[in-house]
C-alpha cells in the first residue's frame, strides 16, 4: 500500500468515566492527536469515527466537541473492529487521493450503555438461545484443550502477561499485575474461562491523524510512522464442520495485509491482537501464523510473548489489561504500535523494532466465526 502515514496519535485513559460523555472523551483523543502531529483543527480534511453503541451522529458530536465541523464525516460500525475500520476507510480515501490529512477516531462509553455479558445482535438465532461472547470463546478454548493439550493454566498465563503489561501503561484500566494462580482462583464466567480472562467493560477514545506522502514531506516530521497495510474482511458463512480453533477470518485478513505490505509472518516483531478473552489471543496469534497451531499457549508459558521475549504480544496490556471500549480498541492498538516504533513506549519499550502488526476483530453471528476483522501493519 503506497503512501499512507500516521502523523499523530492521541487517546484517553481507558476505564470507567462516569462523569464524561463519549463526545468529551473523543475530543480529548482528537486534540491529543492533533497536538502530537503538530497540526490544527483547520488542517483536517475528513474524518471517520468508529463506535458501536453511541447512537446517531456520534462522529459529528465528537468532532464538534473538538472544534471541528463542516468537513466530510462518516460514522462506521463493525462490532469490535469499528475503530480499525475507521482507519481502513481513512487509508482508502488517502489512497484515492481524495485528501492529504484525515482523522480516524474510535470511541465508546460502554459503561453507560451496557450491562452483563456481550452478545451477538438480538436478532441472532444463537443469541436468542443463550450464546454470550464469553461462551463462544469458552467453547473454542475447550476445543483447543482437546486438540492440543492446552491447559487452563496456560490460558491464565496469557491474562497474567497482559495485566502485567498494563501495569506499565499509564493509560490502562488495570494498574495491578495479577498472578496465574489469582486468575485461576477467580470466578468462572463461562467454563473454562475465568473473570480475568475476559475483557472488562470500559470507556475511552483514541484518534490518529493519517497523512499522504505529500503531506508527510510538508510536515517534515521525523516521528511519522508508515501504514504499509490495512485490510478488512468479514466472516465467511461456514459450510461443513470446520475446526473452531483455526480462525479462517483472521488468516484471510492477514493474508491480504501481508500481501499489501510485501511482508510475511516471519517479519512481524510485535503484535497487538484482539484478546477479548485469553483463548482469543491464542487463536488470533495462531491464525496470523505467528506461531504454529496449538503452540502459542505453551510459548506464553515459556515467556516468548512477554516483553523481552521473541515476539512481544499486547505490550499495551491488550484488551484484558488496557481495557476494551469497543470502538476505541482498534485505534488504540495502532497507537501502541506507533508509540513502540517511535521508541516512546516507556517501561514497556520493545528494542530494535521495525515492524508491528495490529489485529482487531469482533462480533459473531450464526454461521460465521466473526463479523469483521482488520489487520494493520506499520513500519518505521
Amino acid at each position: 500500500m503506497e503512501g499512507v502515514y500516521i502523523a499523530g496519535v492521541g487517546m484517553t485513559a481507558f476505564g470507567k468515566h462516569p462523569d464524561r460523555s463519549a463526545a468529551d472523551l473523543a475530543a480529548e483523543a482528537i486534540l491529543g492527536a492533533l497536538d502530537d502531529a503538530g497540526v490544527g483543527t483547520m488542517d483536517i480534511e475528513a474524518a471517520w469515527v468508529g463506535h458501536v453503541y453511541q447512537g446517531m451522529a456520534m462522529g459529528q458530536r465528537a468532532l464538534g466537541a473538538a472544534g471541528l465541523s463542516g468537513l466530510p464525516i462518516t460514522n462506521v460500525e463493525n462490532a469490535c473492529s469499528s475503530g480499525s475500520t475507521a482507519i481502513f476507510e481513512a487509508a482508502t480515501a488517502l489512497r484515492a487521493g481524495a485528501y492529504d490529512m484525515v482523522l480516524a477516531v474510535g470511541v465508546e462509553h460502554l459503561s453507560t450503555k451496557f450491562r452483563g455479558a456481550l452478545q451477538p445482535d438480538e436478532s441472532d438465532i444463537e443469541a436468542q438461545i443463550g450464546l454470550t461472547m464469553p461462551s463462544v470463546y469458552a467453547m473454542r478454548a475447550r476445543r483447543h484443550f482437546e486438540q492440543y493439550g492446552t491447559t487452563p493454566r496456560q490460558l491464565a498465563a496469557i491474562a497474567a502477561k497482559n495485566k502485567f503489561n498494563a501495569s506499565l501503561n499509564p493509560l490502562a484500566q488495570f494498574k495491578k499485575p495479577i498472578s496465574v494462580d489469582e486468575v485461576l482462583a477467580g470466578p468462572l464466567i463461562a467454563e473454562p474461562l475465568h473473570r480475568d480472562e475476559c475483557a472488562p467493560v470500559s470507556d475511552g477514545a483514541a484518534a490518529v491523524v493519517l497523512v499522504s506522502e505529500k503531506k508527510r514531506r510538508q510536515l517534515g516530521q521525523a516521528r511519522t510512522v508508515r501504514l504499509v497495510a490495512s485490510a478488512l474482511r468479514s466472516g465467511r458463512m461456514e459450510v461443513g464442520l470446520v475446526d473452531m480453533t483455526r480462525e479462517d477470518l483472521t488468516w484471510r485478513t492477514a493474508l491480504a495485509a501481508y500481501e499489501q505490505a510485501g511482508l510475511g509472518p516471519e517479519d512481524i516483531q510485535m503484535a497487538e491482537v484482539h484478546d477479548c478473552f485469553s483463548i482469543a489471543e491464542t487463536t488470533r496469534i495462531e491464525g496470523l501464523h505467528l506461531f504454529p497451531f496449538g503452540e502459542y499457549p505453551k510459548a506464553v508459558e515459556r515467556g516468548e510473548a512477554s516483553l523481552g521475549g521473541r515476539l512481544p504480544v499486547n505490550t499495551s496490556g491488550g484488551l484484558l489489561g488496557k481495557g476494551h471500549p469497543l470502538g476505541a480498541t482498534g485505534v488504540a492498538q495502532v497507537i501502541e504500535i506507533v508509540k513502540q516504533l517511535r521508541g516512546e513506549a516507556g517501561d514497556r519499550q520493545v528494542q530494535g523494532l521495525k515492524v508491528g502488526l495490529a489485529h482487531c476483530r469482533g462480533g459473531k453471528a450464526r454461521g460465521v466465526e466473526g463479523t469483521a476483522c482488520t489487520v494493520n501493519i506499520l513500519t518505521l
Binding site: G116, A117, Q119, S123, I125, E126, Q128, I129, G130, L131, T132, P134, S135, A138, M139, R140, R142, R143, E146, P187, L188, I189, A190, E191, P192, R236, M237, E238, V239, G240, L241, V242, M244, R366, G367
Partner: protein, 135 residues
C-alpha cells in the same frame, strides 16, 4: 421450498419435524453444490444458487464442544450448558443441553423439546435441546 422466508428466530415450533417418531431440525441443502445450512438459507453462501431443498438434521448428533455458562444477560437463567452438536448431515448447531451435568466432547445426543435457559415474562421458554443418549 424454493421460496424461503426469513430465518426462524429461535429453535421454536417452526424449525423442527418428527421423522420416524424422533425430533429433527429443519435445515436446507443447496441443489447446485450440496452445501448444507441451518437455519435454511434462501441463497447458497457457497455458490450463490437461489433456493434450497429441505434437509432434516438429526435425529442424533455428537457434541463438538461445550461450555457451562455462569454469567449471562437478564434474558437467561444460569447456570446452563451450551453445546455445539455436529449432525451427520454436515451441519453444526448450537443448543442448550438438557441437564447441567458435564458432557464430554464426542458424546452422542438426540434432540428433545425442553424448557430454558431463555426466560420470558418469568417463564422458561421451550426450546430444542440436546439430550445425552445412553450415558
Amino acid at each position: 421450498m424454493s421460496e424461503m422466508k426469513s430465518a426462524p428466530e429461535v429453535h421454536g415450533p417452526d424449525v423442527f419435524e418428527y421423522e420416524g417418531g424422533r425430533l429433527c431440525l429443519v435445515g436446507s441443502s443447496c441443489p447446485q453444490c450440496g452445501a448444507a445450512f441451518y437455519p435454511p438459507q434462501a441463497v447458497c453462501a457457497r455458490c450463490g444458487h437461489r433456493g434450497g431443498d429441505k434437509l432434516l438434521l438429526g435425529p442424533e448428533g455428537t457434541v463438538y464442544t461445550w461450555s457451562r455458562v455462569h454469567r449471562s444477560t437478564p434474558e437467561f437463567k444460569p447456570p446452563y450448558v451450551l453445546v455445539y452438536v455436529d449432525f451427520p448431515q454436515d451441519v453444526r448447531v448450537l443448543m442448550p443441553l438438557s441437564d447441567t451435568a458435564e458432557p464430554q466432547i464426542g458424546d452422542k445426543v438426540e434432540l428433545a423439546m425442553e424448557d430454558g435457559p431463555r426466560v420470558e415474562a418469568g417463564n422458561l421458554v421451550p426450546l430444542v435441546h440436546a439430550r445425552p443418549v445412553q450415558k
